[in-house]
């Protein structure tokens, strides 16, 4: 009977906590609105630990409040000498053993989850004759202050907007090309550092229903201080159903270089080829080695959610960005690598960049 009562209490604490926390933050960004298996495991662990900790806090608070109210020195007690108690073995055993039990309750799921989340055996399985593995693998490369996403089995590359299918595990290889960064999609799961030394591997999933609630667009962040524009090193995660994702991959694999139809964009292409092409590629099938890929791949630029990860996606902001990148992302590597452009050239370049798409949208 008593057991059931405590269980019921515990459950209600769980429920209330979940309710309160789900009100926190935006569904596309918050770790409190888990949108995949990894985030869910982590969220459950958070709730479990929070509940245990609240129990501890309540115990401490009760003793604390009683102690400081009941034993205050009252008027007329100025000379009272309380009994000098040495200690109590029983009490000390109690408050040693109970925390140990509580910690064991927390430690077991912690260790289990640690191993579960680190399980990337699927990545190492043999690919089929086309070189494609069953597992979807994305190579993430972090640079000051942009992200490159390479789908090695499909030999396509995109930047800034990661595209993933829902309801399946997506495996990641993570590395940084200059200084250490950290790859974090809060709503989908915890972060993993992109080291300069070694490749880190992990997986995430994106629940289709939760993705829809978040508008099929999650926010990703750099979580490791990497320089002045660390705060602005955002990326986006676009979720697609598995079929749509296959179509997208297909479109990426077969995409031809865009040949602009209107004259402004055609002029823009010329400017691009003179000033930008040495760093930026415009084809998703960029076969150059990663050291040569100095700047984000722009093949899908017209379909992006943001410009430079943070600005509204329109021609005006694009022109602002090209005019003075330093103003929007201090310390970036693009500033002063190209000649000054006049307003007309900017218009043309912007028209060209906005025409870069692989899907018909």
């Amino acid at each position: 009977m008593k057991d059931r009562l405590t269980k019921w209490r515990l459950l209600s604490v769980f429920a209330v906590l979940t309710l309160v926390l789900s009100g926190c933050g935006e569904p596309f960004l918050s770790a409190l609105t888990p949108a995949g298996e990894v985030a869910q495991i982590q969220y459950d662990l958070m709730i479990l630990s929070t509940v245990i900790m609240i129990a501890v806090i309540i115990a401490v608070t009760v003793i604390f409040v009683i102690a400081i109210t009941r034993f205050r020195r009252k008027k007329g007690e100025e000379n009272k000498i309380p009994k000098q108690v040495e200690g109590s073995h029983l009490l000390e055993i109690i408050w040693t053993v109970i925390p140990i039990i509580l910690l064991l309750i927390l430690a077991v799921p912690t260790v289990t989850a640690t191993f579960h989340l680190a399980d990337v055996k699927e990545m190492d399985k043999k690919p089929n004759k086309d070189g494609v593995r069953d597992a979807l693998v994305v190579n993430v490369r972090a640079s000051l202050y942009w992200w490159e996403f390479e789908y090695p089995d499909y030999k396509v590359i995109t930047s800034q907007d990661l595209v993933v299918p829902t309801d399946q595990k997506v495996y990641f290889n993570l590395i940084a090309s200059d200084v250490k960064h950290s790859f974090w999609i809060p709503a989908a799961g915890g972060k993993l550092d992109t080291n300069t030394d070694n490749v880190n591997k992990f997986w995430l999933t994106f629940d289709s229903q939760k993705s829809e609630e978040a508008g099929n667009l999650f926010y990703g962040k750099c979580a490791e201080l990497c320089g002045p524009s660390h705060a602005l090193m955002d990326f986006k995660v676009e979720t697609k159903s598995q079929d749509d994702f296959k179509q997208w991959l297909n479109a990426m694999q077969t995409a031809k270089e865009v040949t602009p139809t209107d004259t402004a964009a055609a002029e823009g292409q010329k400017i691009f080829e003179q000033s930008c092409l040495s760093c930026h590629a415009v084809s998703p099938q960029d076969a150059r080695p990663e050291q040569a890929r100095l700047a984000p791949n722009l093949a899908t630029f017209g379909e992006r959610a943001r410009i430079a990860g943070v600005l509204e996606h329109n021609e005006e902001e694009l022109k602002n960005w090209i005019r003075d990148p330093e103003k929007y992302k201090p310390g970036n590597k693009m500033t002063n690598t190209y000649k000054q452009l006049n307003e007309q050239e900017l218009d043309q370049l912007a028209a060209y960049l906005m025409s870069l798409k692989v899907e018909d949208k």
Partner: protein, 624 residues
């Protein structure tokens, strides 16, 4: 002695402090220098919170913001919290064990001046081309990529001040092992002395890894080495390990003495001996020991693999047990006591819920998979401010009020003290509580700004308002100090009335030779024992005799100054400045010359003669 000091001119007082080897004066130096750096770090914090009050703010530039956050962290840990604690250790610990001074008074002075010049050097970076900007952790890939001399200031400044801290730690260890008064067994030592002892041991083992790694960083940046240069076969993860092998014990170097101060306050103002003294000692030692076993929990997301993560997760959780023991012992010390809510006691009482809140989030982070979410977000910022502000800074404020009369012979105003407490405490929770949620809602730490429309606006504004409250609190403390010093109403040996340990049996401030006769310690809380037997003074352990005292010395200042000068040479030689190498050599010549002078010249100190001691007003020492 104090009256004599007042009659001296300003210049001779300054000279006195520049050459002093008296632990009480060095304590005051630590308090002044640490307090100054604390204010600097506070101003940096205020600028950070102003910048983050609203989204897309451009109050400070991105690069400058990184300098601010780096210097805020570095200053607060290395130049404020630790020196302030060293100040209290210096002021109180020798008195608590009934010692004349620390074991090596000269080294004590040297430790202070090294810290001071190191801190000064680090902060000069603001005026010499920009402060360090890679965070207080200064992770290697970023710190090697950082342009300008900021990181060089960090490496050289911390190196110099780190020597000072290491010397301080060794000095306290030797003092506690060798210089306890007759009868002061280990298990009769006050808890503040115990925590000083354990923290000093941690310093002894934790600072060498820091020294080594900073040397490597310095050689990478200034002398062409490649320890952390991945392209040349170096490894940046090594830096992270080194840093946290130092960095985690560092947390306990800060918090253990804070626990010690609170332990003294709880038992004093509850009029009760500390509940479970021996388990408190045991818990302190255990925390110190475990503190070295958990560093990789700062690196759960580095990719060390599930085995390492699981081991360090469980080890981290284990620390909660001894810490919990301490919390309950404090609660039970109050239980059944007669609690008087003086300002120090208010801080101590407020510390419990604040620190418990910080502690439990620590355990939550111990659950490694959940930490993948918390790591490097504002959740972490909230957590470590809860333990460091809610633990260490509250202890420093409590200790300031508690020990002020012992150090300066006059009481800080209780009224203003309560005002300070109110604003600081409310501001503290307002600032940091909401940051837990900001982190969970997707706000990374160390961000210069944040974009609107991400649900982060309100939380950040609340946090900034809280910071303003804390600022008001600290300003009122300064006002309190000024008013108190101007009024200068002298108090007696035991101004709180309930002092339990030896330091309350001696005059406030104590004479420069401390106890006229070393006291005989007959149990835990020796002064309280004597008082309970109706005596006002301690039982002496020796007849009045000559007291041997060390001479003051200007050499520690010169040794430190030499390193300070040499650091400029080391730093600017990479710019091919012709003067740099001569300056580097010149500085080292000054340092080693001063050391040679110290070695060659005989300095036997002086004796205070028995007759002079008997003449002196007797309530300053112990009666025969």
């Amino acid at each position: 002695m104090s009256t004599i000091a007042q009659k001296r001119g300003f210049a001779s007082t300054v000279w006195d402090y520049l050459t002093t080897v008296d632990h009480k004066k060095i304590a005051i130096l630590y308090l002044i220098a640490g307090g100054f750096f604390f204010l600097l770090g506070g101003i940096e914090a205020m600028l950070i919170r102003i910048q983050l009050a609203v989204p897309n703010n451009d109050f400070v530039s991105a690069g400058f913001f990184n300098e601010l956050l780096t210097m805020h962290g570095t200053t607060m840990i290395f130049l404020a919290a630790m020196p302030l604690l060293l100040g209290f250790m210096n002021a109180i610990m020798p008195l608590q064990i009934g010692a004349r001074d620390v074991a090596f008074p000269f080294i004590n002075a040297l430790g202070f001046w090294l810290f001071f010049f190191g801190g000064l050097f680090l902060n000069l970076s603001w005026f010499l081309g920009g402060a360090p900007d890679a965070g207080w952790t200064s992770y290697a890939s970023l710190s090697l990529a950082s342009e300008g001399h900021g990181i060089d200031f960090y490496a050289l400044g911390l190196q110099i001040s780190g020597f000072g801290t290491l010397m301080g730690g060794i000095n306290f260890l030797v003092t506690i092992i060798n210089m306890r008064a007759p009868g002061m067994t280990y298990m009769r030592m006050p808890l503040f002395t115990w925590t000083t002892f354990v923290a000093s041991a941690l310093i002894l083992f934790a600072f060498p890894p820091l020294t080594v790694s900073i040397f490597m960083l310095m050689f990478d940046r200034l002398f062409g080495a490649n320890f952390f240069n991945v392209a040349a076969g170096g490894n940046t993860i090594i830096w992270e390990h080194f840093f946290w092998i130092f960095g985690h014990p560092e947390v306990y170097i800060l918090i253990l003495p804070a626990f010690g101060i609170f332990s003294e306050i709880f038992s004093t103002f509850s009029r009760k001996r500390l509940f479970g003294y021996s388990s408190m000692v045991f818990a302190t030692v255990l925390i110190g020991f475990l503190g070295f076993m958990v560093w990789a929990h700062h690196m759960f997301t580095v990719g060390l693999g599930p085995v390492a993560n699981a081991i360090f997760a469980v080890a981290t959780m284990a620390i909660a047990v001894p810490t919990g023991i301490k919390i309950f012992n404090w609660l039970l010390t109050m239980w059944g006591g007669s609690i008087q809510f003086t300002v120090p006691m208010i801080y101590a009482v407020a510390f419990i819920p604040s620190f418990v809140a910080g502690g439990v989030t620590g355990i939550m982070q111990g659950a490694a998979p959940a930490d993948y979410q918390y790591h490097d977000t504002y959740f972490i910022v909230a957590h470590f401010h809860y333990v460091i502000v809610g633990g260490v800074v509250l202890a420093l404020l409590a200790g300031t009020h508690f020990y002020w009369p012992k150090m300066f012979g006059t009481m800080l105003s209780e009224k203003i003290g309560k005002f300070t407490f109110f604003f600081f405490f409310v501001g503290f929770h307002l600032t940091f509580f909401i940051q837990h949620f900001l982190g969970l809602m997707g706000m990374p730490r160390r961000v210069w700004t944040f974009l609107p429309g991400q649900g982060l606006d309100t939380g950040n504004l609340v946090s900034s308002i809280g910071a303003a409250f804390m600022f008001v609190g600290i300003v009122s403390l300064l006002v309190n100090i000024v008013i108190t010093s101007v009024k200068n109403e002298k108090v007696g040996n035991d101004p709180w009335g309930d002092g339990r340990t030896l330091e309350w049996a001696i005059a406030s401030p104590p004479p420069f030779y401390n106890f006229k006769q070393l006291p005989l310690v007959r149990g835990l809380d020796p002064y309280w024992l004597e008082k309970m037997e109706g005596k006002q003074t301690l039982t002496p352990a020796e007849p009045i005799g000559d007291i041997h005292m060390p001479n003051g010395s200007f050499v520690p200042f010169v040794i430190s100054l030499g390193l300070f000068i040499a650091a400029f040479g080391a730093m600017y030689q990479i710019d091919d400045k012709a003067w740099a190498i001569p300056v580097l050599i010149g500085g080292l010549v000054i340092t080693f010359g001063a050391m040679a002078y110290r070695s060659i010249k005989d300095d036997h100190g002086f004796h205070i003669h028995k007759e002079d001691l008997i003449d002196e007003n007797d309530d300053k020492g112990v009666k025969a």
